[in-house]
Symmetry: C2
Subunit: 248 residues, 2 copies
DNA sequence: TGAAAACCTTGACACAGATCAAATCGGAAA
DNA sequence: TTTCCGATTTGATCTGTGTCAAGGTTTTCA
């Protein structure tokens, strides 16, 4: 029977932008105080751009609530999303002035920010923060590489199933329904955003969602509220290794 | 007129796996000695697999000569390359036991390796090494994201042009021919490997290379030896921002 | 040097997903 | 509640790239 990766992390520990409790727990007294002193919050409305590609980015940040996307756009308007930021995710480039992608809020968004200079100073003096940041960046690189497999080799149906599976696994608001395999969540993306994420058109996204619904793998209430009727079947449709993301 | 990013880095500095001289230069006396003590070399023949996805990887390494690829494969055999390692590139995951992709030598390959444990110890005690590693990882993440744009949104012709442009810019053996815009290099990949990199079939790769040749953007001697006849036209065909990768 | 094995090119055709074009739905504002 | 407008679905058709197939070319190794 399928079990999910339970999200054991959250935005916590005095809003330290380092994801896992296990690591935040290592931030103590002095360090936490310093983080408190340099942190501030920013809010964005759904649709607002947080920062444009090429702009100077003088802070690093952790998503507190809401969803943001990273995207790149070609001259003629073709767009590809290259990252999805959910609560507790980190964004920013210690050691670099500007970013190479647009960051956009797709829902109302609250981020916990740290000005870069003091954050970098802190990284230098507290090795485990830099350490953890390196691990997180390597994890992100792994996700990016998995996404490359999706973009280069998966069919439209597999792409949709993969995206639903990933959101379902990461979405903290997901609730297990009675029985076993059913999961419920709200899509934080429009069809067009999903298309830009998957390298498809919005029409193809719509058609494949309809197909998954017809096949009883998922069901919808309204356009955004999704129930995964059979998580195993969804994984199957995603073309992932059969035991990917499951425990026991 | 087009100028290339001149590769100002190289595998140097006592084989320190940190890429740029500017940083290696900060490795001194004691540190260099420790690196010397834990380093060793490994050679692989063209086609040999360095490590399989899921295997334990107890070392980190820097490519001294030759070319390696990182790739992921689906159960039914569909393959996607997710990384290209050229001389001076780094591979390995401090803080993780295993890798999520196959590493394969596509030419004869020499790597300078460091056992992971002592390397990690050194990272802890010399902050600038971890620092630099984080920067390199972030750079790699940026490349991965650019590649996602390529995989998701570019046409076959744009994909081929992008790959040629990237190899030309990074290949240390490239030689400027008389005049201005011509560049010469040897492809380190077969048509099939290029296809796996670009999310295409080898037939499409072959056809698009023929098309670029017919359009006088490139010319070939044999199958591997490429002359870029007009770098600007190649960039144009790649669909990149018109000033990407150029100076002045 | 010759023969086999890779590797590559080209052609004909098929098909998944793109494009163009209408509906239809659903949430927000009045 | 009604109206409106953006978001979504669905249909018809087109096209870029995949698939299958047949030669051709380069490299390797005896």
């Amino acid at each position: 029977m399928a079990m999910l990766d339970t999200p054991t992390f959250s935005h916590a520990c005095g809003d330290c932008p380092i994801r896992y409790r296990a690591v935040c727990a290592r931030c103590e007294g002095d360090e936490l105080e310093r983080l408190e002193q340099i942190k501030y919050y920013r809010s964005y409305q759904a649709g607002q751009t947080v920062i444009w590609s090429g702009d100077r980015m003088d802070f690093v940040a952790s998503v507190v609530s809401g969803v943001a996307t990273l995207s790149q756009t070609m001259e003629d308007g073709r767009r590809q999303m290259v990252g999805l930021l959910l609560p507790s995710d980190f964004v920013g480039r210690p050691g670099r002035d500007s970013v190479a992608y647009d960051v956009t809020a797709t829902t109302d968004l609250v981020m916990c920010c740290f000005r870069k200079k003091p954050f970098e100073d802190m990284m230098l003096s507290t090795p485990h923060v830099g350490q953890r940041l390196l691990e997180m960046t390597l994890d992100e690189l792994d996700s990016a590489r998995e996404w490359m497999l999706l973009l280069g080799r998966k069919t439209a149906r597999e792409k949709i199933a993969s995206l639903l599976s990933i959101i379902a696994r990461r979405d903290a608001s997901l609730a297990l329904k009675q029985g076993s395999k059913r999961l419920v969540f709200d899509l934080p993306l429009t069809r067009e955003e999903m298309a830009d994420y998957l390298g498809l058109t919005l029409e193809t996204v719509s058609r494949q969602i309809s197909a998954l619904r017809k096949d009883k793998v998922i069901s919808l209430e309204g356009k955004r509220h999704v129930t995964i009727e059979d998580f195993d079947a969804l994984q199957e449709a995603a073309g992932d290794d059969s035991d990917g993301g499951m425990l026991s």
